[in-house]
C-alpha cells in the first residue's frame, strides 16, 4: 500500500463488512515519544479469539471470491517495518478495535496519505454508517462526526449529496493539516 490512508480504507472496509453501524478512527501523533498511533474501533459483529489469531495469516479470509486475505497481513508488515506493531482486540457481538503503532521517524513508515478522501469515499458509499474521525497531536485536536453533519442536514438532504461529500472531504483534510502540519499532510518529526 502506498500510504497509511489506503491501509485505513482497507481495515475500515472490514468493519463495514462486519455490519458495523458506528466506526471510530483516531490518529494520534506523539512527537516526544516518536509514536504514531492509528486506532479503528467498530461495533460490528466482532471475532472469537481463535479468529483473531487467524486474521494475520494471509491464507485466511471470510470471502468466497478468493482464497487469500491480505488486508491485515499487509498492515501488520507496514507497522513492523516501521518499528511498530498492530494489535487486535475483539469481542463477539460487541465489536473490534485495531491499533496500529509506528515510529514517526522510521524511514520505512509510509506517509499518512489522503485521509479526507478515504473517509469521504467511505461515507458516500454507506450513508447509514456513523463515523467519528479524530486527530490529535500535542494539545491540538480535531473531530469529525457524521452525527453532527446529520444534525445540520436533517432528513431531506442525503449524506451522499456530491456537495456534502465534498464538504466532508475538505473539512477532514483541513483538520489533518491543522493538527499535523507538515508538507503533504505529513507529520514533522521534530518539535
Amino acid at each position: 500500500m502506498r500510504d497509511l490512508s489506503l491501509h485505513l480504507m482497507d481495515v475500515v472496509r472490514n468493519s463495514v463488512d462486519a455490519g458495523a453501524g458506528k466506526i471510530e478512527i483516531y490518529i494520534e501523533a506523539d512527537i516526544q515519544e516518536d509514536i504514531l498511533k492509528i486506532t479503528v474501533k467498530d461495533n460490528g459483529r466482532g471475532m472469537e479469539d481463535s479468529t483473531i489469531k487467524k486474521v494475520t495469516d494471509p491464507f485466511y479470509t471470510t470471502r468466497t471470491t478468493r482464497k487469500v486475505g491480505l488486508g491485515i497481513p499487509l498492515f501488520v508488515e507496514t507497522c513492523r517495518r516501521s518499528q511498530g506493531d498492530l494489535t487486535i482486540k475483539s469481542e463477539l457481538g460487541k465489536g473490534t478495535e485495531i491499533t496500529a503503532v509506528m515510529k514517526i521517524s522510521s524511514i520505512d513508515r509510509p506517509p499518512i496519505g489522503d485521509i479526507g478522501n478515504t473517509v469521504a469515499g467511505l461515507q458516500a458509499s454507506e450513508t447509514e454508517i456513523d463515523y467519528v474521525v479524530g486527530f490529535k497531536c500535542g494539545d491540538k485536536d480535531f473531530t469529525y462526526s457524521t452525527e453532527e453533519v446529520r444534525q445540520v442536514l436533517g432528513n431531506e438532504v442525503s449524506l451522499d449529496n456530491p456537495q456534502v461529500i465534498g464538504w466532508i472531504e475538505e473539512s477532514i483534510t483541513e483538520g489533518l493539516e491543522n493538527i499535523f502540519g507538515g508538507v503533504l499532510n505529513e507529520i514533522p518529526c521534530r518539535t
Partner: protein
C-alpha cells in the same frame, strides 16, 4: 476553517435544487474496494467518479463500494448498474477513464466498449 454554517448553506442549495425526479436513483457506480482494488488504485478512481458527478451536478447516480469482484488482476474494477439491473463491468480503470465513462456512459448512455471486461485480454 470548514464550518457547519457552510454545510447549512449546502443544505439550503440542495433543497432548492431538489426535484421529485432527483430522488430516484437512475444508476449506480460500484467500485471494487477490497485489498486488491485499493492497492491497484481504486480510491482515486472512485474519487474521479464523485468529482465528475459533482462537477456535472448529477444527483441521481450513486457511487458505492463493494468488496472483491473476483478478478483481482483486472483491478480497479467498476460496475455501472442501470435501474433495470443491466450491468456493465469496466476493468483496469484510471481517473481519466472514469471521466470518460461519466461523459459517455452515464450522461449519454453509450457504453465505453474499449474499457469493458470483454475488451480486456484475460
Amino acid at each position: 476553517m470548514k464550518s457547519l454554517a457552510e454545510l447549512e448553506k449546502i443544505r439550503q442549495e440542495a433543497l432548492e435544487r431538489m426535484s421529485p425526479r432527483s430522488d430516484k436513483e437512475r444508476m449506480r457506480v460500484v467500485v471494487g474496494m477490497a485489498t486488491c482494488g485499493i492497492a491497484a488504485g481504486a480510491r482515486p478512481v472512485m474519487q474521479a467518479f464523485l468529482d465528475e458527478l459533482k462537477k456535472r451536478n448529477i444527483n441521481d447516480v450513486k457511487v458505492a463500494m463493494t468488496g472483491c469482484i473476483g478478478v483481482c488482476k483486472l483491478e480497479p474494477i467498476v460496475e455501472v448498474v442501470d435501474s433495470d439491473g443491466t450491468k456493465v463491468t469496466y476493468v483496469k480503470m484510471t481517473p481519466d477513464k472514469a471521466a470518460r465513462v461519466v461523459a459517455e456512459h452515464i450522461v449519454n448512455g453509450r457504453v465505453v466498449a474499449d474499457y469493458t471486461i470483454g475488451a480486456a485480454e484475460i
